[in-house]
Symmetry: C2
Subunit: 438 residues, 2 copies
């Protein structure tokens, strides 16, 4: 006998059992259908691109994680996000698109990170972006949280918070205390306050040679408390006399006001002055989303406003705003925490079990049910009745229709509710059967 190859799946790559896949697909479908209700257009870009295209904006950490290889003479890479391909796409197809260009994309991206529990090398991102031509109203920044809100409500969550901030506020603050040059480093430190605490942040700021009075200002700033209205007022009270800062506060006030209009309840959003989202990409509004009882999950939907989507490919100024859900990780974590549960093990609603040789009646019935869009399987293999019922049981198919000699003589079928065990003879008439199912 021939040697067998071990049927392994790479670590860091999610491969689900069918019942988990059904659940995964349902969540994906909820996200996609919500994106569609908001009028976003679909996009599907290649997974492989020229490395030169993906690396137009020089890489850093991302570049190291890329799956990069040669095919013939061509230097190729797998996409590591959906934003860079979007930028390429918009630059390439500029003349054929209508702006504001609203697109969604749900697809796999690749990052060769060190594998660890809950981290994936292949994972789905579910992105939406609204791209303007030259300019894009701040109103769009206020619409996105309502989309995040709708999705997580539909997924059955109530206790989540969309944190909103504006990068200009932080940038203006740093300018005003003469720390513009160090702003990236300072942001990196501030970003960690949730994880490492205030004292450690102060220490790290000292390590960056930030002066004590500046540190005090920064801490004073990130400790601003209160409801959204109070926070906005306190930001204004700081009276920083910095144009960028004031613009940021003004924008944040606008966004917050309109987020309410867009129907996000007070309980589901807040201003969080500590979030910065990446270090040089975002330029205005930024978002993160947290399940309040599971902050340890990190942000489950993030994004923000950027000044210029495609500057590495085109001279056109294309400002945009977008958010992304890292679906694979989210699914893994929700599943681990048992916040989502497999609800169905099969797609089929009905299993037809023929107990006769002639398949004419069973097949005709199946065809009718399928035409009514009821997922139906016929048990087509030679097995004992017990094995056939066990199959329905294992797959948790809710109904079984048994068709035997006796039933056919009476022009009836036997409908069995697999949950209750209840059996009923009913007319061999799809309308009657449908009524029974409902």
């Amino acid at each position: 006998m021939q040697n067998k190859t071990e049927p392994r799946t790479l670590s860091g790559f999610m491969e689900l059992l069918p019942e988990e896949q059904i659940l995964f697909d349902q969540i994906k479908e909820t996200i996609e259908s919500t994106y569609k209700t908001y009028g976003f257009l679909p996009l599907d870009t290649p997974i492989i691109e020229l490395s030169e295209v993906l690396l137009a904006k020089a890489g850093g950490e991302t570049e190291k994680q890329m799956y990069r290889f040669n095919k013939g003479d061509t230097d190729l890479s797998l996409r590591f996000d959906l934003t860079v391909p979007l930028a390429k796409y918009v630059a390439k197809n500029y003349g054929n698109l209508s702006f504001p260009f609203r697109r969604y994309q749900i697809g796999k991206v690749y990052r060769g990170e060190r594998t660890q529990k809950g981290r994936f090398r292949e994972f789905y991102q579910c992105d939406i972006d609204i791209i303007g031509d030259e300019n894009l109203s701040i109103n769009n920044d206020a619409e996105l949280p309502s989309i995040i809100y709708t999705i997580f409500k539909k997924l059955g969550f109530d206790d989540f918070t969309i944190s909103i901030n504006n990068r200009k506020i932080l940038n203006g603050l740093f300018q005003s205390i003469g720390q513009k040059e160090n702003s990236s480093e300072i942001l990196r430190v501030i970003d960690k306050i949730e994880k490492i605490g205030k004292e450690a942040v102060i220490q790290e700021l000292r390590n960056l040679d930030v002066k004590e009075d500046q540190i005090q200002k920064i801490i004073e700033f990130i400790e601003i408390e209160g409801d959204t209205k109070e926070k906005i007022q306190k930001l204004k009270n700081l009276n920083l006399q910095n144009e960028v800062y004031n613009e940021g506060v003004e924008e944040l006030e606008q966004v917050i006001k309109k987020v309410r209009l867009f129907g996000v309840p007070e309980a589901n959003f807040k201003i969080d002055l500590t979030i910065a989202r990446g270090l040089d990409y975002y330029t205005g509004t930024v978002y993160e989303t947290f399940l309040n009882q599971y902050r340890e999950l990190g942000s489950i939907c993030s994004g923000g406003r950027y000044e210029n989507l495609a500057q590495y490919y085109t001279d056109k100024k294309l400002p945009g705003v977008g958010v992304s859900i890292g679906l694979t990780r989210l699914f893994y974590k929700l599943n681990e925490l048992k916040l989502i549960n497999v609800k169905q093990k099969s797609i089929s609603k009905i299993l037809i079990i023929p107990m006769i040789e002639d398949l004419e009646i069973p097949i005709k019935l199946a065809t009718k049910l399928r035409n009514l869009n009821i997922s139906t399987q016929i048990y087509l293999n030679d097995k004992k009745l017990k094995a056939k019922l066990k199959y329905a049981d294992k797959l948790e198919i809710p109904y079984v229709i048994l068709i035997g000699e006796d039933e056919i003589k009476e022009n009836k079928v036997k409908l069995k509710n697999m949950k209750t065990g209840e059996e009923k003879k009913i007319d061999l008439d799809e309308v009657k059967i449908i009524e029974e199912l409902e």
Copy 2:
């Protein structure tokens, strides 16, 4: 000013404009929802696998076309079909699956073929397979054509034919004329008869040292004419006294008989004794599907029965039957032939255009419509009315709702049908609006 990178997409990689993507997604959705009605379970396997796993069955042509590379010390490849990953999956998860295991998978696969018009290096395959444990009834072979039939009918086609054959008939024939050893080569030649014609086939058979009386038998066989019933009769009349042959004829007769029961009209299937589908993979029933007026497209949905899905990974005997639609190529060809056409350029059914500062009413209306699952966009940017209407026009959004001072005073909105140009003031009441849309 910084140098720009040219925003290129690799040749052989499909990247569609949004309106084409909408159409592509609709076709994909038709395929997927049909698969679901037949109770197939979803599967989503990684695009990257260990090369050793994908190449468990030694490669040939496929191996040369693979995207293969190292990441660290690991020898990786991109999947070149969905069948090998399925085999791995079933072998790996055998204990957690219920058999017959019916799964569908729609995903991208990769083949670094020489690029040419209509050939893709990244393309979608849409697969279904039914896998048995130890055995699988021939009834399943009869069910698959009904799924192919349903899909192409739903896609709007009438004049297509599902060609059905059985590999055992061919194998038995070769055995009986003492050409078992050469059967692969002979099949390869026969497979070309449509393309190169009878005379060229005879010549190529001579080149293979097939004797004249054997050639005559082969030609006699592949020239069997008539309706399905006649063909079966003629196959029996050949009286080959070969067990494999007789088994094949018997199976084919069964499948043909039941394909009818499964509701495929006589006009949409036939026996075609020349199709063989690959050379060593399939072992029984084989299928190809042709648009009769566009035979040059080649088969648009193919597959067949195999004895043992996962023999390279496990000792379990797992016979199966499946078909696959090469969606990317199909879409490209149908589009090129104008057999499918972009029907909508937007997802949105309604564009709300606020002509007032205060967005409260426009947003509330949008939220209500979205909750009713009507895809709605609000024009959120500062533009002249003309530009806003042009946006709706370019995206072919069917309805525009204009909300201005006057309308609000009357508690009304203006609904404009963008196709007819008709404008109507109606109550600001989503029910009234819905009625108007229908």
